[in-house]
């Protein structure tokens, strides 16, 4: 049985201007100890999906099963024991830290809630965690506004890991970090994983980081998963036209000025295109694409794609997509 099982999940936001389908029918699983990367364009629903999984945004439809129990319709009180094992690192670190609490309070409060009785023990665990994310000891006495952007991001990492969870939704956990601290945090996530058999859902727009850190990659487009494959498959044999476009856009320090290959109307979650939701921007779109919504289907073991023409496109373009050679 998978650690996390998501089926037919929808998350809709009611706005003054109609319903916005941020997550629009998503199914996938995460195994214990597995790292699943989640990539996709800004606004495609990655943060919403993450927040729905941990119960911060209510699911409109569908099921989320965590460690055997359905959690998507639990009340906050019923969700509490689950939350220790299911944590999230937020994309906006400042907005997610209470400005009136010291970092010491932020880190020790969850320990108290989850039964660490001795204050000295809580303090010791908080200090150890602060050191592991590369922050100075006096961090515990300071308040969120006294830190730099990247330091706050690391406080978010510390808060998520301190309860020794089983699954952490990491929403852009290293986006604000320079490369050396980024390496340190990624190495920390790997260590924690082998200590605790942790699983991660790892959201990042940095494909080189995802490539390094994920066992499997989910590609999201306008509220849907359009491709799912192991990390090496997604790089060597991407099938979905969107995945291919995404990979071609990776800037390379050795190449100056890359062109942006994706054009066409920008997608809107308030007005999802008919048929394949990628068709208005897809160079391979046919009449079938404009009318029928392609389901996520298996094209080889462990590799799923939602595209009517995946085989034909793949055969025509060859195994190596343009740009793949320069992704390194």
């Amino acid at each position: 049985m998978s650690l996390l099982q998501v089926s037919g999940l929808h998350t809709r936001y009611e706005t003054n201007d109609g319903v916005l389908r941020a997550v629009d029918g998503v199914s996938f699983a995460i195994e214990a100890g597995e790292t699943v990367g989640l990539v996709g364009e800004s606004g495609c629903g990655k943060s919403t999906l993450g927040k729905t999984l941990v119960g911060l945004v209510p699911a409109s439809e569908g099921e989320v099963t965590f460690d055997g129990a359905e959690i998507s319709h639990l009340s906050p009180a019923a969700l509490k024991p689950v939350r220790r094992r299911l944590q999230m690192i937020f994309q906006d670190p400042f907005g997610s830290l209470n400005p009136r609490q010291s970092i010491g309070q932020i880190l020790t409060a969850p320990l108290a809630v989850h039964g660490v009785r001795s204050a000295a023990e809580r303090r010791a665990q908080a200090l150890a965690m602060v050191r592991r994310v590369g922050l100075p000891d006096d961090t515990l006495q300071r308040f969120p506004h006294e830190f730099s952007g990247g330091q706050r991001q690391r406080i978010g990492v510390a808060r998520a890991l301190i309860l020794a969870p089983q699954l952490v939704v990491c929403d852009e956990p290293v986006s604000a970090l320079d490369l050396s601290i980024q390496a340190q945090i990624l190495n920390l996530l790997v260590e924690m994983k082998s200590e605790l058999d942790l699983a991660y859902l790892f959201v990042s727009h940095d494909l080189s980081v995802v490539r390094y850190f994920a066992d499997r990659v989910l590609v999201m487009y306008l509220g849907r998963i359009v491709e799912s494959a192991t990390y090496d498959t997604i790089w060597s044999r991407p099938r979905h036209p969107y995945t291919r476009a995404l990979m071609e856009a990776v800037p390379d320090p050795l190449r100056r000025r890359t062109a942006a290959p994706l054009s066409g109307d920008l997608p809107s979650a308030r007005n999802v295109p008919s048929g394949c939701r990628f068709h208005p921007r897809c160079p391979f779109a046919t009449d079938l694409c404009r009318s029928a919504d392609p389901a996520l289907r298996s094209v080889e073991p462990g590799h799923e794609v939602a595209c009517h023409h995946a085989e034909a496109i793949f055969a025509a373009a060859g195994a190596t997509p343009p740009g793949a050679a320069t992704v390194h």
Binding site: H145, G150, S208, L246
Partner: protein, 331 residues
């Protein structure tokens, strides 16, 4: 050489517990893009805020000078500084939520800025706001204009900030990690937009980023900061391909981009041992506690910056003149 727009000399910013910026000097020419890279917590954002005279108290500028377009900003009265801000120097903040007003729609916020700068009616300001949202590639701008900040995704908020900075048509734009939340496609479009603006207005662009891909593609010059100080400066080619300072070298080695097809199951990423925090309160070179090349004299004084051509480094183990001489002798 371009005319200097901004000249920062020996800037120092202190908080009660620490010096966030020390002895920092750099300049930005008219129409030039200067990138600042460096360790998390090394003082990049505080430097940006100091240029805007927005250092959060109890922090304050305790030394140095900031000359901008013929004026000394550190000595400017508050009222005059308010005019400079927004009109002549604009800033895109690192965390958009901290500078967007949560109770106003983004249309209102952009519109107010438009009205301030262009003196137009509310109706025209709204139309301009929609145009600007489209410019930063936000889908369905005519509907998005009525959204509140919390209804946007992280990357959309970042682009709203960029739209607001664009309206100001400033002489100097400070962009603090403007594209951290953006995927590569939109990142490229947004940076191209800023770059067009730079060319069109001969705007100076101070780009704070940790993304070396962006540095290589867009910067004319790069400053590397470590623990509140500048440790290296040079062209992107020099900094990316042949860095001199041990910190910059470590930074390049830590890049997962350079790791090719490494994977966490097989190989850990290269870290620079130790952490920046061990540097505070030490004398001498700020990088000493983590540096493989450190020797006794590194602990004695802060290494003075030495330069050869336009490449500058602050490391006693690295004397560009001597090395150039060695190369010349050997050749």
């Amino acid at each position: 050489m371009a005319t200097t727009l901004l000249e920062v000399e020996n800037l120092t910013v202190r908080f009660p517990r620490l010096a966030a910026v020390q002895d920092l000097s750099f300049s930005v020419g008219v129409g030039e893009t200067l990138a600042i890279v460096g360790e998390s917590g090394s003082g990049k954002s505080i430097t940006a805020l100091a240029l805007m005279r927005l250092v959060p108290p109890p922090g304050r500028i305790t030394g140095g000078s900031i000359r901008f377009d013929g004026r000394e900003l550190t000595a400017l009265p508050d009222a005059a500084m308010r005019k400079v801000r927004g009109a002549e120097i604009a800033m895109i903040f690192q965390e958009p939520m901290t500078s967007l007003n949560p109770v106003l729609t983004i249309g209102r916020q952009i519109g107010e800025t438009v009205r301030l700068h262009e003196g137009v009616s509310r109706r025209i300001a709204r139309a301009r706001a929609i145009e600007l949202l489209d410019l930063v590639r936000i889908p369905e701008p005519h509907r998005r204009v009525d959204d509140y900040p919390h209804q946007l995704s992280g990357g959309m908020r970042q682009r709203v900030m960029i739209a607001m900075a664009v309206i100001c048509r400033p002489k100097l734009l400070i962009a603090d990690e403007p594209t951290t939340a953006l995927d590569v496609t939109i990142q490229a479009q947004v940076l191209a937009l800023l770059d067009n603006l730079r060319r069109e207005l001969s705007m100076g662009l101070l780009l704070i980023t940790h993304d070396l891909g962006i540095v290589g593609q867009w910067a004319d010059r790069v400053v590397v900061m470590y623990a509140s100080r500048k440790v290296e400066e040079g062209s992107p080619d020099a900094i990316l391909d042949a860095p001199w300072h041990p910190y910059t070298q470590g930074l390049m080695a830590a890049s997962p981009r350079h790791a090719g097809d490494l994977h966490y199951r097989r190989t850990p990423l290269v870290e620079i041992p130790g952490s920046i925090t061990s540097a505070f309160g030490e004398t001498g070179c700020p990088f000493v506690p983590r540096c493989a090349l450190a020797e006794a004299r590194c602990r004695e004084v802060v290494p003075p910056p030495l330069s050869l051509g336009d490449h500058l480094v602050a490391c006693v183990r690295h004397d560009p003149f001597k090395e150039a001489a060695d190369v010349a002798l050997a050749g």
